[in-house]
Symmetry: C2
Subunit: 445 residues, 2 copies
C-alpha cells in the first residue's frame, strides 16, 4: 500500500493516486500515516474527496489531527467539520488544546455550534457524551413510501439509517421501525401500523457503561437517547458502544494492577506520567506492608530460636496473595458482567470457603511431602504448622477476596480497586500472624 502511494506521489500521478486512496478503508489510514513523513501526509489528505477526507480525519489519533488542523486553511477546516458527525466533532474538541478548539468553534455553522455546545455540556461518562444528534425521525401517519422518501433525502448524512424513530409533534418517541421492516411492508401501509411501540430508550444522563451493556444484551445497531421529557435528542450507535466496552475493560485491567487508569496509549504517555499513574498505589501498598514486617518483628524470639521458620514466609505470603487474587478477580468481573449481585454475597462466600478448603488441603499435603523430602522426617510438627497455616490462609484470602469487592460495591466504590495488590497486602499480614502463632503454639518456640 505505502509503496504504491509513494510511487504515485513521486510520479505526480494524482488522479490515479486519488482513485487508489478512495479504495482504501478510512480505518487503514492511521497506520499508513504513521509510516510516512508529514508533508506527504498533507498531499495525500488534500487529494481525498471531501467525504473521504472527513471519514479519514475521524479515524486519526488526536496528535495527528492537531498537526493537520494546524496545516489547514480555515476553508479546509470548515470542510472537514461540515462532514464530521457531531459525536466525532465533540470527541475532537475534547482532545484538542484551547487555541485549536477556538479555531474549530469559529469554523462551525452557528446552528451546529449550538448543538456541539449542548453535547459538550453533558456530564463525563454519560450517554449524552457519546450520542450523535443525527438520526432519521418519522411521523406515525407517514406511509412506508413517505418514509423511504425521507430516508433517501437525508439518509446519507445520517450515521445510521437502519433504525428509524417515530416521533409525535413534540418529538416524544412513540415507536421504532427498522428499514428491514419497511422493506417488506406494503408501500401504502401507515407507519403507525407496523412500528414497534415497545421502545427501549436511554436517558442522556445514563452511565455510558450501562449503555454499552444494553447494546451487548439486546444486540441493537442503534438506541435512542431521550431527555427528561422523553423527547428524542439523539442516538447512540453500536460502534461507539463497542468502544466503551473496550475502554471499561482496559480501565479494570489497569485498576486491578494498581495502575491509575488513563486514556492515553502506552507510548503516548510520558515516562513521568507513567510513574505518576503508578506511584500512588505503590506508596500506599508499601506503607501497608510495613505492618506485616512489624508483625514478623514481634516474633523475633521465635525465628531466632528456629530460623527455618523464616524460610516459609514467602511461600505462605505468595499462596495467600494468589488465592486472594483468584477470588477477587472472579468477583470483580462477576460484578461488571452483572452476573454476581450484592444479594449473592453469602452464596459466593460459602462457595469460596469450600473451594479454599479443597485447594488449601491439597497445597498443605504437597508441601508436607516436600518438607519431608527437603528436611529430615523429624519435621512432622513443622509440616503441620505450615499445612494448617496454608489451609487457614487460603480460607482467609478467598473470604477477603469476595468480602472486600462486595464491600466496595456496597459503599458505591469501584470494586476493581479491591483487586489482588490490596488484598495480597492485607492477606500477608494475616498469614504471618496465623503462621507464627501456630508455630509458638505447636512448636513451642
Amino acid at each position: 500500500m505505502k509503496e504504491e502511494i509513494l510511487e504515485l506521489i513521486e510520479k505526480q500521478r494524482f488522479n490515479d493516486l486519488r482513485e487508489y486512496l478512495e479504495k482504501i478503508n478510512s480505518a487503514d489510514f492511521p497506520s499508513l500515516f504513521e509510516e510516512i513523513e508529514e508533508e506527504k501526509i498533507l498531499i495525500i489528505y488534500r487529494i481525498l474527496s471531501k467525504e473521504k477526507a472527513a471519514k479519514v480525519f475521524a479515524e486519526l489519533e488526536p496528535d495527528v489531527q492537531e498537526k493537520l488542523i494546524n496545516y489547514f486553511t480555515d476553508k479546509e477546516l470548515k470542510n472537514v467539520l461540515d462532514e464530521l458527525f457531531f459525536d466525532d466533532t465533540v470527541d475532537l474538541i475534547e482532545e484538542m488544546p484551547a487555541n485549536v478548539v477556538k479555531r474549530i468553534l469559529r469554523n462551525v455553522d452557528v446552528k451546529d455550534r449550538k448543538i456541539i455546545n449542548e453535547l459538550l455540556a453533558y456530564p463525563d461518562d454519560s450517554a449524552g457524551t457519546i450520542m450523535t444528534t443525527e438520526f432519521i425521525d418519522l411521523k406515525e401517519n407517514m406511509t412506508v413510501e413517505d418514509a423511504f422518501e425521507k430516508i433517501r433525502k437525508i439518509g446519507l448524512e445520517k450515521e445510521t439509517v437502519y433504525t428509524c424513530y417515530v416521533l409525535t409533534i413534540d418529538r416524544k418517541v412513540i415507536g421504532v421501525i427498522d428499514v428491514k421492516q419497511l422493506l417488506i411492508a406494503n408501500k401504502e401501509e401507515k407507519i403507525k401500523n407496523i412500528m414497534n411501540t415497545n421502545v427501549k430508550t436511554i436517558s442522556t444522563l445514563t452511565d455510558k457503561e450501562d449503555v454499552a451493556k444494553m447494546f451487548d444484551k439486546y444486540n441493537f445497531i442503534a438506541m435512542p437517547v431521550v431527555d427528561m421529557e422523553n423527547r428524542l435528542v439523539g442516538i447512540i450507535t453500536i460502534d461507539d458502544a463497542i468502544d466503551v466496552l473496550q475502554e471499561e475493560a482496559e480501565e479494570d485491567f489497569e485498576k486491578m494492577a494498581a495502575v491509575t487508569p488513563s486514556d492515553e496509549s502506552y507510548f503516548k504517555t510520558t515516562v513521568f506520567k507513567h510513574a505518576k499513574n503508578r506511584i500512588v498505589w505503590l506508596i500506599f501498598l508499601m506503607l501497608a506492608s510495613i505492618l506485616t514486617g512489624n508483625v514478623i518483628s514481634m516474633y523475633e524470639n521465635a525465628f531466632s530460636a528456629l530460623p527455618i521458620l523464616v524460610a516459609f514466609v514467602p511461600l505462605l505470603m505468595g499462596t495467600g496473595g494468589n488465592c486472594g487474587a483468584q477470588t477477587s478477580t472472579l468477583v470483580i468481573r462477576g460484578f461488571s458482567q452483572d452476573e454476581i449481585k450484592l444479594k449473592d454475597f453469602l452464596k459466593v462466600w460459602w462457595k469460596e470457603v469450600r473451594v479454599a478448603i479443597l485447594v488449601g488441603t491439597t497445597l498443605a499435603l504437597i508441601n508436607a511431602i516436600r518438607i519431608f523430602i527437603q528436611y529430615d522426617i523429624g519435621q512432622t510438627k513443622l509440616a503441620v504448622v505450615v499445612g494448617l497455616t496454608l489451609i487457614i490462609v487460603a480460607m482467609l484470602a478467598k473470604s477477603l477476596g469476595c468480602i472486600l469487592p462486595m464491600l466496595a460495591k456496597k459503599l458505591k466504590l469501584d470494586p476493581a480497586i479491591m483487586a489482588s495488590p490490596l488484598i495480597t497486602t492485607i492477606v500477608d499480614t494475616c498469614s504471618v500472624l496465623v503462621y507464627f502463632n501456630l508455630a509458638v503454639l505447636i512448636l513451642g518456640v
Copy 2:
C-alpha cells in the same frame, strides 16, 4: 413484569398473556425465567409465537435450553430449529449433552443438517464457528429494483439484510453494497456500477479474536467469510463479534489472576471445578516460592545476627510484585490491543527502566524517612540497604514485567500467562537475593 405475567396465567387470560409477552424483548426472558417455576416457564414458552419462541430460545442459558428441549415434543423442537439461525443452532449443539444432540440432529431438515455438520467441523475459535450461512447475495447485473425484490423475498429469514454481497456464478465475492447505498440509488441502476469492489473478507480459519478486532477497527455491521477458493460461505454479524471481544477479555482477566479460564458462569461452575481451575497455578507458584525460602535460609547467619532484617522482607517482596504486575499488565493488554508489538521491545523496556528509577527512588526516600521515624537515627545504613534494594527491585520487576510477556509472545505462547502471579514469584527470589547481599556488603552482618 413478572407479577403481570403470573397474574395473567392465574386468570388463564392467555390471549392477553400472549400479547403482553410479544412486547417483551427476547433478551429479557432469561432473567424472567430465572424467577419463576418450570411448569410456568413451559406455559409461557408454549404461548409465544413461533418466531418469538425461537428468538427467546436462542437467548436462554444452556441448562434452561436443555430443560425445555426435554419437555418439547419432536414437533415443538422442530419448530424451534426451523426458526433458529444456523450459528445459534451450532452453539446449541455444542452446549448440549450427546442424547439431546442426537434428538436435535434427528429433527432438522436433511439439507440443514448438512450445513450444520459443516459448521461443526470448523476448528475451535475459528471464524467458521461463529459465522452464519444466511446472507443476501446479489449478482452484478441485477438492477437496484431486482436487489430490493430479492431482499423483500428472502430478507426476513436473514440475520442481517443491510449488507449484501455481490457474487459471480461460482460464488466468488466481487463486491459489497449496503442497503443504504441501494436506497439512494436509481432503481434502474446496475449493481455492478454502485457496488464497492474493495471487499474485506475473512477466511473460515481466521482466529475469531482477529475477526472481532476487525469489527472493532472498521465498524462493520457484518463481514463476509470465504473459503480457500474465495467463495462466500457465510457472514459474521457484529453481535457475535462483540461476544468474542467480551469472552477474550474475560479469559485474560482469569489467566492474569492465575485461574484456568472456563466458559461457564461463576455460579454454574461447581466448587470442585472451581478448585480444579485454580489449583494448578497455586501448586506451581507455591513450589516456585520454595526457592525464595531457600535463598532466605542461606542468609540465616545474617538475620540471626540482625533479626530486624527480616522485617523488611514483606515490604520488598510486595513492592517488587506490584511493580511487576503494573508493567506486565500494561504490556499484556498492549499486545491484545495491537498497540505494543514485538519490535517495540527496546522502546518499552527503556521506558519501563526509567519509570522504575523514578518510582524506586521515591519509594526509597519515603521508606528512609519512615525508618528514621520508627527506629532511631542510627539506622542510616539500614535505610541505604533497603532503599538501594527497592530501586534495584523496581528496575528488575519492571524489566521482567516487559521481558517475560514479550518472550511468551515470541514463543507463540499467550502473554497473559506471564502476568503478576508468576512474575511476583520470580521477583520475590531476586529481591531477597539482592537484599541480603547488600545487607552483608553494607552492614557487614
